[in-house]
């Protein structure tokens, strides 16, 4: 989230698209209710199903799964055509004036530089024209044919309302009504918020869906303002924390990069980072990259990390490929290239696509270790449960170790919510049986491996032996110790660079912010963005002051929001170029003549003068980007791409299948189905009554939603002779499931490319363990293909078939 849950109450228009906040985030959805009740805000829902969010919406439009980019580009086109643009914002705070290289282009749904063999783009041409001074060439008139503005206009030209209707199945009148409602928020004093979730990410072009809305929000001047922003609704209480602390194979904490094999030493690694500004005066905050990385390395290796050894850079693993995402790991596992796997709070048998492939992969493991508070299906993947898990147990030789862990309510620590708030929590219950905290388990493994290294030696002992492990109880570090380490502290006395006589921090004191980090080894901090969470003043995450003097839901003294306790990112953009708020009734910060001040922490150097420094300080341009350069693998503009399994050809290029650079493996691609055999579109989702695959273990949740079902329209039901509550079989090119049928008016067949498209809704919550009835999830059927940038599986749009079955199995 650029903003926070509580900020949503400040909005004038909520657009829920690519998510279902009422259903999957009911507690956060309260702030939509607040905005509606107290501000008269409107709610628009665009979704394949008339869902729980739609039930309280002011306006609803259906959309075919996987066609969001066409819709969003269509809205952008409409806004440009009808001059619903916040011009002051767009001209000053975005890169519309920047000139793009002459050799960049887009045709037939593809950008320049595609290599079909490698399934990737050569992105050389996706770049600005750089002047001799090292800065981007610009044309403030926006007339230059290579200006981002002109390229954008060209790019969206194809997405007419007719194109949208034909591609998305959204009736034109509904689409236009939504354009109008959205267009109104281009007024400087109007805000629109985008609430999205896995409805946008779980596509082979998920990141581009989100880009599409981000661009629209820039166009309307809705980024950085109260009640605006791009608000990703995280589907798990701490999934934000997971990405923050770098639990991805290609990241280290704080969104720093895991080194590549080609980056043999620290100097090489740093040579492509620490971006220089692309426009004069810009902060280009990543210039501080080295400070964050060195502090991280010091946190890892302590005294062992020195300038002489590149701060222990050598001891970090180096990636030989872009990343080992989960899909790649499971593909490798299936091919016998992985023999041990730890599933830590991860029920992959139900959450990753093509369950048959998962079972096959797990069966190739020698050792599976499952750390979980619950008995997961993954840990029992070898058990035969009839149709619900039809495996030949005798043929599976994998050894499974289950290590019961505590759950969130049984231990202490911080979870990071969607609004980037690190909220400390305390144990509310005693762990049952032999359950141990994850920290205890990991520590025990570490200490035992270390002992083996000490006693027996081995390959590359340094990362283990040099690891800093300075805890009161090495057997189980305390959450407070780990949190203090994430925050970071001074290792030597720090002096003010501007005034060397002035002591900033004594050695051993906690940092009060990432601004104090140094790249000379004098500070340590495991996750730079968390700096400030546990300062000399104590645990900022445990703060529980719910006073809100501004009345804008900022709650500065409730918990801690990264970065720097800032509640609305890019909040400099909430003011006009002279530093006056666009909407004086919703002032986050403003320039008081000397510095930036206000209810929120300014997202800019407090003394940075208006008109000098752009609001998007992380970007070397200082602006928000319509043209995203080489930052995304599938193009600098979002372009409509069909799902890999789609009922229609891509109207921009009938030969193109899915996202041409998506994460897909050759044998999986071959098995993709066509609409000839699998005529219906399946989409997966959550239900309010359950949380993932956890709550089916709970009786109360199981009472409220006891049994697996699929949802279909009355029309499809009539066609297939299915009535409500009967049993159906749904199958894809990868597997089959049995479910009860919910026949509803809330799913309507859509007319796309002149033909009706029927949608089958498949919730995800059932398995063969727990209190609820045995069932399936969507992943049995889903295709093994992931987003081009973030490898999220394409669960939201794929093809299936359905039939009525008699009896119970």
């Amino acid at each position: 989230m650029t903003n926070s849950w509580t900020d949503i109450k400040n909005t004038d228009l909520v657009v829920i698209m690519g998510g279902n906040a009422a259903e999957a985030h009911p507690c956060g959805f309260k702030w939509v209710t607040e905005a509606k009740h107290h501000r008269g805000a409107k709610l628009i829902v665009v979704d394949p199903r008339f869902n729980r969010s739609a039930s309280v919406a002011d306006y609803y439009a259906p959309i075919r799964p996987g066609s969001d980019i066409a819709f969003l580009m269509g809205v952008i086109r409409w806004c440009i055509e009808n001059d619903r643009v916040q011009w002051d914002y767009v001209r000053n705070y975005t890169n519309v004036s920047h000139l793009v290289r002459e050799d960049f282009g887009w045709a037939d749904g593809m950008f320049t530089g595609y290599d079909a063999e490698k399934r990737s783009y050569d992105q050389t041409s996706w770049e600005y024209q750089i002047g001799e001074d090292g800065f981007v060439l610009t044309d403030e008139t926006l007339e230059h044919p290579r200006s981002v503005w002109q390229l954008l206009k060209q790019h969206v030209e194809v997405y007419t309302p007719e194109f949208v209707e034909n591609t998305c199945g959204t009736p034109k009148d509904r689409f236009l009504k939504i354009c109008e409602m959205i267009g109104e928020t281009s007024a400087p004093d109007k805000a629109m918020t985008s609430m999205y979730a896995l409805g946008w990410t779980q596509h082979s072009k998920g990141a581009q869906n989100i880009r599409g809305m981000a661009m629209l929000q820039l166009l309307l001047g809705n980024i950085g303002i109260a009640g605006g922003g791009m608000n990703a609704l995280r589907g798990h209480s701490n999934i934000q924390g997971l990405t923050d602390v770098g639990l991805m194979s290609n990241l280290v904490p704080g969104y720093l990069a895991m080194p590549r094999e080609t980056e043999a030493d620290f100097t090489t690694y740093m040579s492509t980072r620490g971006n220089k500004p692309l426009r004069p005066n810009q902060m280009s905050y990543w210039q501080n990259y080295g400070k964050f990385m060195v502090s991280f390395l010091k946190a890892l290796w302590g005294d062992k990390a020195t300038a002489g050894n590149g701060w222990g850079y050598d001891w970090l693993p180096k990636l030989d490929i872009v990343q080992y995402d989960a899909m790649r790991m499971f593909d490798m596992m299936k091919n016998g290239k992985v023999n041990t796997y730890f599933f830590q709070g991860f029920n992959a048998l139900l959450s990753f696509p093509n369950r048959a492939k998962m079972t096959e992969a797990f069966s190739k493991l020698k050792l599976m270790v499952v750390m979980d508070p619950l008995a997961t299906e993954t840990a029992s993947f070898w058990e035969n449960h009839g149709i619900y898990n039809d495996v030949d147990s005798a043929s599976i030789q994998t050894e499974v170790l289950e290590l019961p862990t505590t759950c969130f309510a049984e231990d202490e620590g911080a979870t990071v919510n969607s609004g980037r708030w690190l909220q400390w929590h305390w144990a509310g219950a005693t762990p049952p049986g032999e359950a141990k905290s994850d920290v205890w388990i990991m520590s025990q493994i570490y200490l035992r491996v270390k002992k083996l290294y000490e006693e027996e030696g081995g390959t590359a002992p340094e990362p283990i032996l040099n690891l800093s492990w300075d805890y009161e109880n090495p057997e189980e570090p305390m959450p407070s110790e780990l949190a203090r380490e994430l925050n970071g502290r001074a290792l030597e006395t720090l002096y003010d660079p501007a005034d060397p006589t002035k002591v900033v921090l004594e050695a051993g004191q906690q940092l009060s912010g990432f601004g104090q980090m140094r790249d000379d080894g004098s500070t340590m901090g495991a996750c730079w963005i968390y700096a400030g969470c546990w300062t000399e003043a104590g645990n900022m995450m445990a703060r529980r002051d719910n006073s809100d003097p501004s009345g804008m839901g900022i709650f500065q003294n409730w918990s801690f929001a990264w970065p720097a306790n800032r509640r609305v990112l890019y909040n400099r953009a909430s003011c006009d170029p002279d530093g006056r708020p666009w909407d004086p009734n919703r002032t986050l910060i403003e320039w008081n003549g000397e510095k930036w001040a206000g209810a929120d922490v300014p997202d800019i150097a407090v003394t940075a003068k208006p008109r000098e420094v752009g609001p998007f300080i992380m970007n070397p341009e200082g602006t928000g980007r319509f043209f995203s350069r080489r930052l995304m693998r599938d193009g600098p503009f979002p372009t409509h791409m069909e799902p890999f399994e789609s009922p229609m050809a891509n109207p921009l290029n009938p030969e193109m299948r899915g996202n041409p650079v998506a994460r897909v493996f050759a044998d999986d691609l071959e098995k993709m189905a066509t609409s000839a055999e699998f005529p219906f579109v399946a989409t997966s989702y959550r239900l309010t009554e359950h949380f993932h695959f956890w709550t089916k273990h709970n009786r109360v949740n199981s009472v409220t939603q006891p049994e697996f079902f699929v949802e279909i329209s009355k029309e499809l039901a009539a066609e297939k002779g299915i009535t409500k509550g009967t049993r159906v079989r749904v199958w894809s090119a990868r597997g089959e499931i049995w479910a009860k049928a919910v026949v509803t008016k809330r799913i309507q067949p859509l007319i796309c490319d002149g033909k009706p498209v029927h949608i089958i809704g498949i919730p995800i919550h059932w398995g063969f363990k727990g209190a609820a009835r045995k069932g399936f999830g969507s992943n049995t059927l889903g295709p093994f293909v992931g987003d081009a940038n973030i490898e999220t599986p394409e669960f939201k749009a794929y093809l299936v078939n359905i039939e009525l079955v008699e009896g119970n199995a």
Binding site: A22, E23, P26, C27, F29, K30, T33, K36, H37, G40, F50, R52, S53, A54, S55, V56, D58, Y60, T688, E689, R699, V700, N701, S702, V703, T704, Q705, P706, E707, F708, F709, T723, K724, G725, T726, K740, A741, V742, V743, T744, K745, R746, A771, A772, R773
Partner: protein, 323 residues
């Protein structure tokens, strides 16, 4: 002696941390089933109400879950029968239920998914209480809560027929009637109902009836501004008003909401046999008994005379003779 709990303000209020004495006492009962002369309480509690704003409700069932948890009930894990209602109906272990109906609005052409939290309405004139034959099994407190006192309940099910909203359910194990208590045990210590506390969108609120009507007015104005011209409050006067009220988008058609009665009232059949007819019947029985006794005392008994005995002998004899 601990402090007496205050009267509840809102459901959102946090619970007290120290023990409190109940503030909902037997002496606050103003009406009890099968007891005609309830003494007038020496104080009157503020009239309370739960307001269910259907236009804010997302059907998440947090209220159902909270209800199960707070009341410690144990509903069955049923099967899916093709609908979102689970359990499929109110049960003795499920005092409240989200009901879902899909309505195609003929005026706007839009689909509406009308979701209503069903449960006891806590009528000012409770049909259950009227129908109940067991003294004190159903009571009404001066704050409006209608509560079932299981210790006095005989499980006869008359309340089921008395209720205009089809709410009470008889437990097959405990053989007593069960329904929403409006969390009288929470209200007694200054808390609002568990469902209201759990509701994430504050579609369920709780407070004095006056405050809830004021809130409803605010909501109705908002709904009217969004084009719901018939938005209104459901506080049906046919049962004297209720202490659970709805804000409806279509207050002119309550039955759209999964059959919420358009004009609920205690069935005349029930009102009839529980009312004057019963008294008249008893009186007539009494008269019949008294009449018989009087007749027996004052009238000549219908006795057989000696002559008739002889005649019988003759008759019996005659018949022999005849043969």
């Amino acid at each position: 002696m601990t402090e007496r709990a205050r009267q509840p303000v809102t459901a959102a209020a946090n619970p007290p941390v120290s023990p409190l004495d109940s503030n909902l006492l037997p002496s606050d009962v103003v009406q009890a089933s099968a007891i005609s002369n309830t003494p007038m309480p020496d104080r009157l509690l503020d009239s309370v109400a739960k307001l269910i704003d259907v236009s804010k409700c997302i059907g998440c069932k947090a209220c159902q879950s909270a209800c199960i948890e707070w009341n410690d009930t144990y509903p069955e894990i049923e099967e899916n029968v093709g609908v979102y209602e689970n359990p499929h109906d109110l049960t003795p272990d499920m005092f409240t239920l989200m009901r879902f109906s899909e309505y195609e609005n003929p005026e706007s052409g839009d689909l509406e998914w009308l979701i209503r939290k069903d449960g006891c309405m806590h009528c000012a004139d409770p049909g259950c209480l009227k129908a109940c034959p067991a003294p004190g099994a159903i009571v009404q407190y001066s704050n409006g809560i209608v509560d079932f006192i299981s210790d006095n309940c005989i499980g006869c099910g008359y309340c089921v027929t008395g209720c205009p909203f089809n709410i009470p359910r008889i437990s097959r194990t405990a053989q007593v009637s069960k329904k929403c208590t409006l969390c009288s045990d929470r209200v007694a210590v200054g808390q609002g109902p568990a469902c209201a506390k759990a509701c994430p969108t504050q579609a369920i609120t709780f407070g004095t009836k006056e405050s809830q009507i004021a809130l409803a007015d605010e909501r109705i104005a908002d709904l009217k501004s969004r084009g719901y011209e018939n938005a209104g409050l459901y506080d049906p006067q046919g049962v004297g008003g209720t202490h659970v009220m709805y804000v409806l988008h279509h207050a002119d058609q309550p039955s759209l909401y999964s059959g919420l009665p358009d004009d609920p009232r205690i069935s005349p059949v029930v009102a009839g046999w529980k009312g004057p007819a019963k008294t008249a019947g008893l009186a007539m029985i009494g008269l019949a008994v008294a009449g018989s006794v009087l007749h027996g005392i004052f009238a000549k008994p219908n006795a057989v005379s000696e002559e008739e005995e002889r005649e019988a002998e003759d008759l019996v004899g005659d018949s022999r003779k005849e043969v």
